[in-house]
């Protein structure tokens, strides 16, 4: 069966595209899917770091596009999951080193051998973004519950619709439980109402993400982290399972968890 090509994008930088790509790739791999994660952020590559694979890179996507190596040579096998591969970005080149046609061609070459191809888009709406969405069958829009991020997500959805890439669905990342509880943040209903696309997941802000990012161990592998659970749920939804959304409002923060632990003890 041919792979589904899913591009993860956002418009605004720093909302968690790369974290989402890394975690969904690993989560899908854990669920037995054959997955390739492509880093389309040429010149500012990060996906390899988040997956803990940066010291294994020999060839990259530009080498493949320019014919310096075969596609198989550039694919790096993940160290945690057996059926997961990374196609890394080049660090010393820029977005113009690859064209949207190259991206489509590369993805078509891999379609027969995998179940999912996840593409990590760079921020912005220029060439890098065009490269990333060119081969997409589906688009995941990542946003945070902030006005600026939602505005950029809206712009991106417009561009995705104009390119007739879709369907686009939404992941709301870094939702802060205590701020939602006190009504100090756009809530998820507000965001969904503005963007009017299908909601695929809500990921709580989780300090464990920073640790996992720095260590190169995606948070989905941490079975205690709320964000890891959220990403695992999104992966299951991508496979067509009905999984209820996490109730962020009731998600205990660390202190409350400790208090509960002490009480139980």
């Amino acid at each position: 069966m041919a792979a589904r090509v899913i591009t993860i994008t956002s418009g605004k930088g720093g909302v968690g595209k790369t974290t989402t790509t890394a975690n969904l790739s690993v989560a899908l791999g854990v669920l037995g899917q054959r997955v390739v994660a492509i880093d389309a952020d040429i010149g500012l590559r990060n996906l390899d770091v988040l997956m803990g694979l940066e010291n294994r890179i020999v060839y990259d996507i530009v080498d493949v596009a320019e014919g310096y190596c075969r596609l198989r040579q550039a694919l790096i096998k993940d160290k945690h999951v057996s059926e997961l591969y990374l196609l890394p970005a080049a660090q010393t080149r820029d977005k113009t080193a690859v064209s949207p046609e190259d991206m489509t061609r590369l993805c078509d070459q891999m379609r027969d051998d995998f179940d999912f191809i996840l593409i990590d888009s760079p921020a912005g709406i220029e060439r890098g973004f065009r490269n990333a969405i060119a081969p997409a069958d589906e688009v995941l829009i990542v946003t945070t519950p902030e006005v600026a991020a939602v505005r950029d997500a809206d712009r991106i959805i417009g561009l995705v619709e104009a390119e007739e890439k879709g369907p686009a669905s939404l992941i709301i990342n870094r939702v802060k439980p205590e701020m939602v509880r006190y009504g100090n943040m756009l809530n998820t209903a507000d965001v969904v109402e503005i963007l009017a696309i299908d909601l695929k997941g809500i990921v709580p802000e989780d300090k464990a993400i920073i640790v996992s990012t720095n260590r190169g161990v995606p948070i989905v592998l941490d079975h205690k982290a709320p964000a890891g659970l959220a990403f695992r749920n999104i992966a299951r939804r991508l496979l067509g399972e009905e999984v209820p959304f996490l109730n962020i409002r009731e998600m205990p923060n660390l202190i409350e968890r400790l208090a509960r632990f002490v009480r139980q003890g």
Binding site: R151, D152, D154, R155, I157, G158, L159, E161, I194, A196
Partner: protein, 223 residues
């Protein structure tokens, strides 16, 4: 009657220069252009000058004036052969008289009074420009733009920027089920919503110009 008349047609704008001294007419044209720059941006213009005899320099001057406002002069329509020759010299199309395209009889005389119906969510960065009325079924999100020569009616939430009567019509109105624009313009008037928290329960509202200011009232039947 004003000495500069600007009319929207299906193919672009028709700018008619009336009688009188060219310098004062050009000043008026410039005012009209800068006053409503957002509407004209990117438009293609046919210039109608009647029997006026114009030199290459004069037409070149108008062309530059239009270009400054991001409008491109495409054709000159004149009964004076000298003017047409000058225009051709500048690489412009010329015509002896303006003949509107033949159209079915049921159409109204002026393209201007027609409207478009758009069914979509207008997202940040997207824009609708139309010389007539614009009716949108769907939301207009923050960062989106609607510019109409006539009225703007939105069956949905208005969060973006709108300009009704963009060619100088202060009689135009803006209606929305939830009227909360970033900025609202009617003719040459500009308004923005009051600062502070948004209302809990939006009601359909209508904005129009009364005694020189934009006012907003609930949008009910009979208004």
């Amino acid at each position: 009657m004003a000495s500069v008349n600007i009319k929207g047609t299906k193919n672009g704008l028709l700018v008619t220069l009336g009688e009188g001294e060219l310098a004062s007419i050009l000043t008026e044209l410039e005012e009209r252009l800068t006053g409503t720059a957002s509407f004209f941006k990117g438009a293609w213009v046919a210039l109608t000058v009647g029997q006026r005899e114009m030199s290459i320099e004069e037409i070149g001057h108008i062309k530059a004036l239009l270009a400054q406002n991001e409008v491109s002069l495409g054709a000159v329509i004149s009964e004076a052969p000298i003017t047409r020759a000058a225009a051709r010299h500048l690489g412009l199309e010329t015509k002896r008289s303006f003949r509107p395209e033949p159209r079915p009889e049921w159409r109204t005389e002026e393209e201007f009074s027609e409207g478009v119906l758009v069914r979509c969510i207008l997202r940040s960065g997207q824009a609708i420009r139309h010389p007539g009325h614009v009716v949108i079924i769907g939301d207009v999100n923050a960062g989106a733009e609607v510019i109409a020569g006539g009225d703007i009616i939105i069956w949905g939430r208005l969060r973006g920027t709108v300009h009704a009567g963009a060619m100088g019509d202060d009689q135009a109105a803006v209606c929305a089920l939830d009227l909360a624009p970033t900025q609202l313009r009617i003719g040459k008037h500009i308004a923005r919503p009051p600062e502070g928290k948004p209302r809990r329960k939006p009601v359909p509202e209508m904005a129009f110009v009364q005694e020189g200011i934009i006012i907003v009232k609930p949008w009910k039947s009979g208004h």
